[in-house]
């Protein structure tokens, strides 16, 4: 049976567009690994001088999934007033390192005008760091990370920012987060971001494609929490909203609903494809 794939493309566009255009969203599905991650971030205890390190290792190609994950993770860390150092192993994330934390801070500043989240206090952007495993090993071995990092992307010495001035060693990094859609990048952190007497509390956000790989590290407890694609980010947003009722993730819920509709469409296409194939086969046999 001849069938133009254009109809499939049209169907997909319609299925994805309808929830977004008409603003129809449903409650996300419960994601147990995202719940673990929420609990880990919620229970990280910090004292003055401690920070969280978040690697944003993704570019515009996976922004739909990884961008949403980065936003919910940063929102949670900002709400908890944990200073965040942002770094990347992926050069194309350079612009996102600037825009994503700014977006989250602007949202919180509007939500709570009596408080302030700003660059230099709530977060700093260390930028893209070449060298992968070598860089991570040097960072971990450093006894004065503030000096080791040198300057932020604005060219300012890290020591000028009081919240980040005294990162005396890797032990000051109480939480490591890594958001990526790339394979190999996440493993490097698992492999090298540790030393004798120190293993980080590690959370990770991955795209739907790399979920199976991430689960082995979750199972071995080398990973303490996981955001699985948009679905994970949407459930994390739901958990944030339970704790902070004013927190809204309307766009994320819309995207998640659109994705859900697309997956239903794919399931129906698989069934339809098999039915058509079975029909053709039985027809050939009859003839």
């Amino acid at each position: 049976m001849r069938f133009s794939h254009r109809y499939v493309y049209l169907l997909m566009i319609a299925v994805v567009a309808i929830p977004i255009v008409f603003g129809f969203s449903t409650k996300p599905a419960r994601m147990i690994s995202a719940e673990r991650m929420y609990s880990v971030v919620e229970n990280v205890s910090i004292v003055e001088g401690d920070i969280a390190l978040v690697w944003l290792d993704f570019g515009p190609n996976t922004i739909a999934e990884n961008g949403a994950q980065a936003e919910v993770l940063l929102e949670h860390l900002f709400r908890r007033r944990i200073p965040v150092l942002l770094l990347s192993q992926y050069p194309l994330s350079e612009g996102l390192l600037k825009t994503i934390p700014r977006k989250v801070a602007d949202k919180l500043n509007i939500e709570m005008p009596e408080q302030e989240w700003k660059y230099g206090e709530s977060w700093i952007n260390g930028g893209y760091k070449p060298g992968s495993g070598n860089y991570i090993q040097s960072l971990v071995a450093s006894t004065d990370i503030s000096t080791f990092l040198g300057r932020d992307v604005l060219g300012m010495p890290i020591e000028h920012y009081p919240a980040f001035a005294k990162i005396t060693g890797v032990e000051k990094i109480k939480l490591v987060g890594e958001i990526t859609g790339l394979t190999g990048v996440f493993d490097t952190i698992i492999q090298f971001f540790q030393k004798k007497g120190y293993r980080p509390t590690f959370v990770h956000g991955c795209t739907s494609i790399t979920i199976p790989e991430a689960y082995i590290f979750l199972d071995s407890k080398q990973l303490h929490g996981l955001l699985e694609g948009i679905a994970g980010a949407a459930w994390y947003g739901e958990l944030l909203q339970r704790s902070f009722p004013q927190s809204s993730h309307k766009n994320l819920l819309l995207t998640n609903t659109a994705l859900g509709a697309a997956q239903i469409a794919i399931i129906l296409l698989i069934v339809a494809g098999n039915v058509v194939s079975l029909y053709s086969w039985s027809k050939r046999r009859r003839d």
Partner: protein, 353 residues
Amino acid sequence: MDSRTALIRSFTFLGGIYFFFHFIVPESALEVIGIKDAHPGISNGFIVIGAMAIGLGIINLVIGHGSHVVFKRRGWTFSAVLLVSLVSTLGVTTAQWIRNRAVSSELQRIYVIGEFSNRILSDASDVKNPKSFSPAGELPKLEFRVHALTKYVREVLGEVERASIEGHGDGSQESLTLREELHKNQILLAADLDRVETVSWENLSDSNKVLLERVSQHAGGYATAYSVIRRRDAEQGLIPQMYTVLYSGIFENLGAAMFALLGVYIAAAAFRAFRVRSMESTLMMVAALVVMLGQISFGKWIYEDMPALRQWLLEVPNSAVFRAIRFGAAVAGLMLAIRMWFSIESKTSSEGR
């Protein structure tokens, strides 16, 4: 084997053996032979060599696509678009980097005020420090250092006034508040300086201590307000706007659109190719359905425990299989690494044979 090949082989082998031994030799032994202290430098050297690949990539792109454009080969217009994009992005990001560095240097001059007064205080207060202030100490006299501080602060305040930053800004309420904050701290700092200049600095009395602390505090407030204003100004220029257009306006959308095509291809493939013809493909389809339904809102409408079932599939059978795949890949990776270490794999080394 020619000398070039021998050189490449030797460097590859030495690089490999260095990291191999660094990994397996105990830390105490590395400390004894002095490698532990040298390692960050060696490691940075490798990072720098790795970063050079970016430069090589640019040269490669320019040569490859430049020749397409010059000789007007098939598809040369795409090459031209690529080269124009490369040059414009490189130009805009370089200009922005230079601008940020200039603003940072300017801000550092202000931040130094607070650090300078704190340093004078700590040097003068710390009697145990051999280099701390004392009339016969190695450091300049307190009086001299305070005089240098006041002279420096007056210079900086004059520079900021000359820059007449009041003339800039977007006129918003936030911008006006920031300028008011800057002005307030400027007045307080100037008043502190007047007082600093009228008292004796032969010794660090308690009142002098408080005065220096006030200078540090007001200088901090002044620096913070000024840095926010300068950063905001820097974000409003033509170059940042061009960067936003290039990155957020064009690159982000093109990148996301390219990846979104994947979804459409998967849908087409689902209809045309995903056939249940064997036990294995049936298993695969069932697993795929459970995983997909378990992570979407509609899944629990079909079966309440769908998310839990999905979680079990990922945690148990998937983890077991993926571990096996990873072990296999790791052994293959090890073999590949050994071949690279001994230069068995590379074209350069095989040329000599």
